[in-house]
Every structure is written in C-alpha cells, then in structure tokens.
C-alpha cells in the first residue's frame, strides 16, 4: 500500500471499515471443496484465476450445481476470445476456427498452440484438453447451452473479423454499438440465464423476456467501454459509436484534447445516459433470481457498473487516464450486493442520485439524464413502494395506521414513565428534607428565632464580630 493510499483511507474510515468487514466477515454462500476435485477440475480453476481478475472470485462461490458449468462456460468463451484477439493469426485460419470452435468442444484432447507468444491467455488453449474433459462431464442440458452460445458468439466474432478485414469495422450507429455489445456480453447473459433457469435457480419468465438478460450484459459492457475510452484509444480501438461522438467533435481523437474538455464531458454524459437506460431492466432481471449465490454472482458486477458510471460521469480524468473505483468502495458494493434486492436497490438509488447531483444544466443531455435517474428511482419505488395504497387512504381520511398508533401508544407510555420518575424524586426530596429538619430540631435548632430574623428581612447570618473591634 502506498503512502497516498494510507492517507486516503485515514481520511475515509468508513471505506477502510468496509474493506475490513468484507475481508474478515464475508462468508461465501457455498465453498468449493478442493480436496474432492479431480486434476482437470483443478486445472480449470487455475486457468479461471489466471484469465479473470474480477469473475474468478464470484464464480468460485457459486452453488455446486452450477460451479463447473459456469467455470467451463467462462473458459470456453475466453478461449474463443483469445483466438479472436490474436492479430498474428491470418483471417483464413481464424475465421473457420471461430466458426467451428463449438465442435472442438466435443473433440477429446483438442489443443491449440498457434497463438503468438505474447498473447496473455495463450496457455489456456495450449492445455485446452482440461476444459474439454470437464465440458464432457457436464449434464447434457448444460452442454447444449454452452455449445449453442459458443456457436453464436463464434459466428458473430467471425463476421466481425471479416468486416474488419475487408471494410471498416468501426462502430457507427447506436444500433451497431448495441449489436457489438450484444455479441460480446449480451450472449453471455443469455447463456447464463439459460443455465440458471435449467438449474431452477431463476424464474423461467426471464427467458421469455430476452430484453432483460440482454440489458444485463449491455449494461456491463457499455460501462467498460465508457471507462476504458482512453486505454482503448491508446491501443487504437474505438467502440464509442460515431452517431454519438460526431455530435460533439469532428474527429474522435479531438475528445482527448484539453481544449475540448467541456465538449468531451458532454459526449461522455450522453454515453453514460445511453448505458443508464439499461439499469431499470437489470434490477428487473435480478428480481427473477431465486438462489443467493446466483444473485450475488449477477448483482456484484451490476453494482460495480453503476458505481463506475457514477465515477465516469462528468469526470474529466476519464479522458486522461484509466480510472477505477476505490478498493473501499468496491468492498462496500460487494457487501451491499450480496444480501438482497432491497439493499441492492438502495445502492442503485444512491448512485442514481449521485449522478443526478453531478448533472449540470449546461449539459445538452441535462433533462434526459434527469429523466433516466427519475426512471430508476420510480422503478425502485414500484417494487418497494415507500407508501402503500392502504397507508395513503388512511392518511387522506386523517386516520393513523397501526404502526403509527403503536408509536403514539409507546410515546404516551414513555411520557408516563417520565412523570412517574419525576414524582418519585419529588417524594424522596420531601422525605429527606423532613428527616433533616427533624434531626436539626432534635439537636436543638431554634427555628422560631430563624423565622423571626427572616421576617425582619435578615436573609444572611449576622457578620461575625471580630473580637478586637469591641
């Protein structure tokens, strides 16, 4: 930990507390049993740790029923991604590989060592037979789902690579932007939802409303695209749709020029606005999950995403460097998103309000952002109403609800107790006074003389006479 960080947490003890709380007190809903695992399973979890920073922890806490299917699903998609990302593989090798990747899953011992050495996850494909073995051990229903999504995503990636090779693959319209995000993240959402429903951990209605799981993926992906704008630009990758940025600047790189900072911020806020439109559906989706570990698995990334959006919203640093939510905030978010929907909704409301607070009327998207924040709040009010119809009716009729009556009754009781205590103290004071006066009288105090003196107006005892003066 660097000195600046130490200073940061000293000034924000609540965040430090969150970190301690999470590290010390968090108990996974399900813990995986390392002793009973086979070699191939161990290898899969090793690759999970190597390939993903954020997902590995949440995947490993999943319900045992879904632990391996989700892990294998993740690794398969990661393998696909490793082929697509590698620019050293020519299109004529890459395209068929991407399209046929789903069939490799059925071929025992299939591995691939054609990746360039600097490719980060090269080792995963070199030892891919472990993943295939575990894939084959899965229930047929799960296998079917993983295979289907791999097929769709492989073909989507292949189309994209073709487009990049022969024509311009940059994202032009918002529709293309949504489609890109769908292939990268929306499909994962679909696959996971089908796994959850198959395992009976999710409401089957989630499948009949594809918009919901699509939104889950798009919300995460769009947040990443917004946050990583600088990093992606430095790597010469551009995901912000032209339809949006061309309203603000003529060339994409103008967004990063210091003199255009205000324009860039407005452009960024339209991107955030575009992402925020999914927030409502994400909460709707999360309401359909029935198992705690699955809820945690889905809710943690969503909470992180809305916090990241809040961080990026009208933050000029986003165009200069890579920004991240602090560790303390992340721990707090993880705690809040591993409880229940109500707590998570409060988190969403908190961040929606923070975004709303940063919103400025100088921004052309001002009202739209205000409306979208209002929509999130309204949706939360719909699932967890602050006021029920029955309460409202009572209020109109001027009657008090049961809770209010109870409260009034308790208040009256407290008041009575207080009066009783006061009276008791008065009685005690009275008794003590009587005892003392009686004692004084018995010892020969002359109250009659004292009264006389008081009557004649002498409220103080006579000054002591000093013998020398006589």
């Amino acid at each position: 930990m660097r000195a600046t960080e130490v200073l940061y947490y000293m000034l924000r003890p609540s965040q430090l507390r969150s970190i301690v709380q999470w590290k010390v007190w968090h108990n996974p809903v399900h813990e995986r049993n390392v002793n009973n695992e086979t070699e191939t399973q161990k290898a899969c979890f090793k690759f999970l740790d190597l390939t993903s920073r954020s997902f590995s922890a949440v995947i490993k806490e999943l319900h045992p029923e879904l632990l391996l299917p989700v892990c294998v699903f993740y690794l398969v998609l990661r393998g696909l991604d490793t082929i697509e990302d590698d620019t050293s593989i020519p299109l004529k090798t890459k395209e068929p590989m991407l399209r046929e990747f789903k069939d490799y899953l059925e071929q025992d011992g299939w591995t691939f060592d054609g990746n360039r050495p600097e490719e980060k996850d090269r080792e995963l494909l070199v030892q891919f037979h472990n993943v295939i073995t575990e894939f084959k051990n899965m229930k047929p229903a799960y296998r079917e789902i993983v295979k289907d999504i791999t097929d769709k995503m492989g073909n989507g990636m292949a189309d994209y690579c073709r487009k990049a090779e022969f024509e311009d693959a940059s994202v032009k319209t918002i529709e293309e932007y949504d489609l890109y995000c769908y292939y990268v993240a929306g499909l994962v959402g679909e696959g996971l939802t089908r796994l959850f429903v198959e395992a009976e951990f999710g409401n089957p209605a989630l499948l009949s409303r594809p918009r919901l799981h699509k939104s889950m993926g798009l919300f995460l992906q769009k947040t990443n695209i917004i946050r990583d704008v600088r990093e992606d630009h430095d790597d010469d990758r551009h995901f912000w749709p032209k339809e949006i940025w061309s309203k603000y600047v003529t060339e994409f790189e103008d967004l990063f020029k210091p003199e255009n900072r205000e324009t860039a911020l407005n452009c960024g806020s339209e991107m955030v606005l575009n992402a925020l439109e999914h927030a409502e559906e994400c909460l709707f989706y999360l309401a359909g999950l029935r198992e705690q570990s699955v809820f945690n698995f889905c809710a943690i990334p969503q909470a992180m995403a809305i916090a990241t959006l809040e961080l990026c919203f009208r933050n000029p640093d986003m165009f200069d460097r890579n920004i991240k939510i602090t560790k303390g905030e992340a721990c707090q978010l993880m705690m809040e998103s591993t409880q229940n929907l109500h707590v998570l909704c409060d988190t969403f409301r908190r961040y929606a309000r923070r975004i709303h607070k940063k919103n400025t009327p100088k921004d052309p998207n001002f009202l739209k952002i205000s409306i979208v924040c209002g929509k999130i709040e309204k949706f939360i009010d719909t699932i967890f109403p602050q006021q029920t119809a029955a309460q409202a009716k009572l209020k109109v009729q001027g009657e008090k609800s049961e809770a209010e009556k109870e409260k009034a009754r308790q208040e009256a009781e407290t008041r009575q107790d207080l009066y009783f205590m006061l009276a008791l103290m008065g009685v005690i004071v009275l008794i003590v006074s009587i005892i003392m006066l009686t004692a004084a009288w018995l010892l020969g105090a002359r109250f009659d003389l004292a009264f006389q003196e008081l009557k004649s107006g002498n409220f103080r005892p006579p000054a002591k006479q000093i013998p020398g003066e006589l």
Partner: protein
C-alpha cells in the same frame, strides 16, 4: 355527432390546443356563464343539451395564496349534474367527465369521490388528475420559475432537492380528456375511475427549473440548501405578516410544501383503460423544444414571461 360542453373552455386546459388567443374556433359556440352559480350552470346544460360535459373550469389561486381553499369551485358542478340527472332532463345518456386540480392533494381526493359517487347507469363520470400543467397559455408555472432569475432566487434550494415531480404538458391532458370522453361514450370502462395523467417522466422539480433557466441562458453560480422545516416556519411567519399588513405573501407554506413533496403518481391505469400515452414529453427531441413550442405556438408568450419578470 356528439355534443360536448366544455366548462372553462377559454381557460388553460379547456382551450388547449389551439392556445390562449381566445378566439372561438369554427363550429364552436361560446356561452358565458358563472359556473359557480348553480342556476346558471343548469340553464347552460338545458340550453346546450350536451352528450358529454368536460369540466375543465377551476379556481386558479395566485401563487401567493397556495394554501387552503380549493374545493368550493367544483362542488356545485356535481350537484348540478346530479340534479339534472335525477330530473331526467335529457334523452341522451348524460355523461360527465371531470377534471380537477393537482394530484395527491387531500382536498381533491375527497372531491373526486363526491363527483364519482354521481356515476351511475345514466350518468357515467370519471375524474382526470393531471399534475402541474405547463405549455402554451401557461401564465403561472414557467413565468414564475423564470422570474426567479431576476429576483435572484435561483441558487436557493428548499428541501433536499431530490423529490421527484411529474409535470404535464397541457395538450397531453387535453388528449386525455378526449380519450376519456370517447371511453364514456362507448365502452364506459372508465366510469367511476380516477386517472392520473402526466408526462410519465419523473424529474426533480429543481431540474425542471434548472432546465428552464438554462434555456434563458442562466445557470445558478452557486447553490444554497434551505431545510424544508425552516422554510415552512418562514412561510408561516410570512403568512402571519401578510395577514397583519395585508401585503402579498412572498413565501407561502403551500409552495414550500409543494416544493419539498414527491409529486408523481402511477400512469398505468390511464394507459390501461384510456389508452393514454403522452404525446409530448419534456424533451421530445434531441434539441430542447419544450420552450420553443411555447414560443412557436404563441408568439406573445415570450414577451409575457419577460413582463412577468419585470424585465
């Protein structure tokens, strides 16, 4: 062709659209009566023999008197309609469609039930409750908000500024009236119902003001929060001083309460039964046309705002 009687036809809601230029459109007859006098109201019903009454008349208090009386202007209408209905004056089915003040207001809820109790086999009634109205012809809401710039009131926020409102564009509520009248003439599924009609876009009242100010090129340079209770007490003392000296109230408890309250309702019922979908939102396009619409539809409107602000 059904005959429609609109009370308050020259008013903000009754005339929308075409706007507040007070010219009677072709094919429309204008009858001037005082609707608070029961006898005159009955006479006009007998004269017009309408199939539908759209009651859009209401007492509009000055902003400074926003606390207290709001019911009386409406009660007569219910009685008149009831009496007419009882006497069986009309061969046609007599339908009544009522519009009343601001939603979630206690007075209005009580009053709504009075009107709706009059709904029967012969008379079908429903009540529409728009939220705060704005649009062409608005001489209260937007001018008052605009006036805050000149008075230097813009930086002050009463309450936490997080309470959501849902304003209503005036033609949206006019559409809702037409839908309600059509429903009462046909399926009558709306009879006895109360509908909240609004833009279905919740924003904070503060943001609505900020957007209007921004449109006039003003952004508050700083913000000062005033706790709601403090403002209420100030309003109370202002009210007292007003009462003693007979001056206009600058801050009433009513406006403080309004500014700090959540003022939105669910629009689901209106959507389900009436098929009401607001056609105009706060922002219908990527540009910011809500104020341009005022200016476009009513060229004198901009001047009036400027006059109201004393500029």
């Amino acid at each position: 062709m059904e005959k429609v009687l609109i009370s308050g036809g020259a008013g903000f809601v009754g005339a929308a659209p075409p706007g507040p230029d007070h010219t009677v459109p072709d094919g429309v007859e204008f009858i001037k009566v005082d609707v608070t006098i029961q006898e005159e109201a009955r006479k006009v019903i007998e004269q017009a023999r309408p199939d539908v009454i759209i009651h859009a008349a209401g007492i509009v208090h000055a902003l400074s008197e926003r606390f207290g009386r709001r019911v009386e202007g409406h009660v007569w209408r219910t009685n008149a309609a009831k009496q007419s209905g009882v006497k069986g004056l009309y061969l046609h089915q007599f339908l009544l469609c009522v519009e009343v003040g601001i939603p979630l207001d206690i007075c209005d809820v009580i009053q709504g039930s009075i009107v709706l109790k009059g709904s029967s086999d012969t008379v079908a009634a429903c009540s529409l409750r728009p939220s705060v109205l704005y649009g062409p012809g608005d001489d209260r809401l937007v001018p008052a908000i605009h006036a805050c710039i000149a008075k230097g009131k813009a930086p002050f926020i009463v309450g936490d500024g997080q309470n959501l409102w849902d304003v209503t564009y005036v033609t949206n509520v006019a559409d809702a009236h037409v839908l309600a009248a059509e429903n009462l003439m046909s399926s009558r599924t709306a009879a006895g119902e109360v509908f909240f009609t609004q833009n279905n876009e919740r924003i904070t009242f503060r943001d609505f003001c900020l957007a209007i100010w921004a449109h006039f090129g003003h952004t508050p340079p700083f913000e000062i929060h005033i706790p709601g209770t403090l403002a209420y007490l100030v309003g109370l003392s202002c009210g007292f001083l007003t009462w003693v000296f007979g001056t206009t109230n600058i801050l009433s408890r009513g406006s403080v309460r309004d500014a700090c309250s959540v003022r939105y309702a669910s629009g689901e019922r209106a959507k389900l039964i009436l098929g009401y979908r607001p056609q105009v939102g706060i922002e219908t396009d990527s540009s910011c046309p809500y104020l341009l619409m005022y200016l476009g539809l009513c060229s004198t409107y901009g001047d009036r705002i400027t006059n109201a602000a004393g500029m």
